[in-house]
Assembly symmetry: D2
Homo-oligomer: 130 residues x 4
């Protein structure tokens, strides 16, 4: 599991007085940095590999400004050329949002999805939720 | 159906050279303004009613800077206190993303979901996809 | 003068109940699209030219969700390789923010500022405030 | 001086391949959290005090995804009801952006600027740059 601690920003709140729902996809994407590194160790955009094809997010509790948030990221499923991440967001120990993100291993140069190599597959498998 | 035309911004692109996936939830939320008005005609945050509980988005095609985008919003389902929207995003006539957003009719003062009134229900029904 | 009409988004409000100050630079940048096109007609990032070196923004009045905003963009000064834009933001006919943005005409390939060509200079001059 | 470490996000990059300029005001605002706490210890929006009236930012070097950024925040000047912050942003030890933010001590209930109290003034003075 990967963990990222985020300090919510005033600019991420909305007129309802809590964090706007559109920040959750932003924070979940931030939590995927170590997944992106498995495909692309120096994170260069020229060699970027991971293209999102689906996001599914359940909003469970309000998230507030002024208290840290933790994003937890697991690998849920590894297909031939795609993989699914499982993500949870906690504040003050409570689960506030959870979801999945489906990605494809995409080769920009030839503009095609490609099978996930054995090396990368083994690395991803280390982060499957127990 | 509600239609919103959006001009993508440089700040909405990412290092891959196209629109970042996290802008799609932002644009879909922008497309819901007329739905929010049905519940809360002057859009005041003090009387806000619509609280999101789920987002599900399929990313179908890259979206580019420099060309307008159209967000289409329909009502898909009206439950007792919740409702589901159906949303599509087009650029240059092509479907680039689609999804659903599930909302609850929430009363902030008593902090509880409430049944959707008949008046609002009738108004929402006008926007069900034919 | 270039004019851009923007529909503020819920995600652009903050817990104070109005538009967060960090949206103004985003909206002003959106208002510069036609300036960017003068340097780079198809807006391709490979040929991007305009690199910001200074932003200065005065916040004059609160900006609200639910009412359109207008961004006005002029050219204020054209130097050798740099230029300054003048920007104003109106809501309901009132000036809410104004500022300047200083840009450099940058050649990405050689990573150097370059003089603004006569053609581009003449085009920019058409947008100087009278 | 207050220090905030930020991990840049993919969604904060733009088509040029680096961090978009509009993220700098967002990060600088994030770096002001401890200033906001001096005026409003629990950071509640109902008692919010700090209203921005000017931002001035110099962009000095490109900022990249994949490496942490540090925001440094000082108090530069304390007026009667206003104060100026001084802000710098570093990546890999290099100064990438710097600026000032001018705020007013605003009382939302009466909608007026108010003198900064002696207690708050003493607290702010501790963060003046030496």
């Amino acid at each position: 599991m990967f963990k990222l601690t985020i300090q919510p920003r005033v600019s991420e709140t909305d007129g309802m007085g809590h964090i706007n729902n559109t920040c959750v996809p932003v924070w979940f994407e931030a939590g995927r940095e170590n997944i992106f590194r498995i495909f692309n160790p120096d994170l260069s955009f020229a060699d970027w590999r991971c293209v999102v094809v689906n996001l599914n997010i359940d909003y469970i509790k309000e998230i507030f400004y002024g208290r840290e948030v933790e994003v937890h990221t697991w690998v849920k499923h590894i297909g031939n050329s795609s993989f699914i991440l499982e993500e949870e967001l906690y504040q003050s120990g409570e689960l506030c949002a959870k979801g999945t993100a489906t990605y494809v291993n995409f080769n920009k140069k030839v503009r095609k999805a490609e099978p996930i190599s054995d090396n990368i597959r083994q690395e991803l498998e280390k982060h499957i939720r127990k």
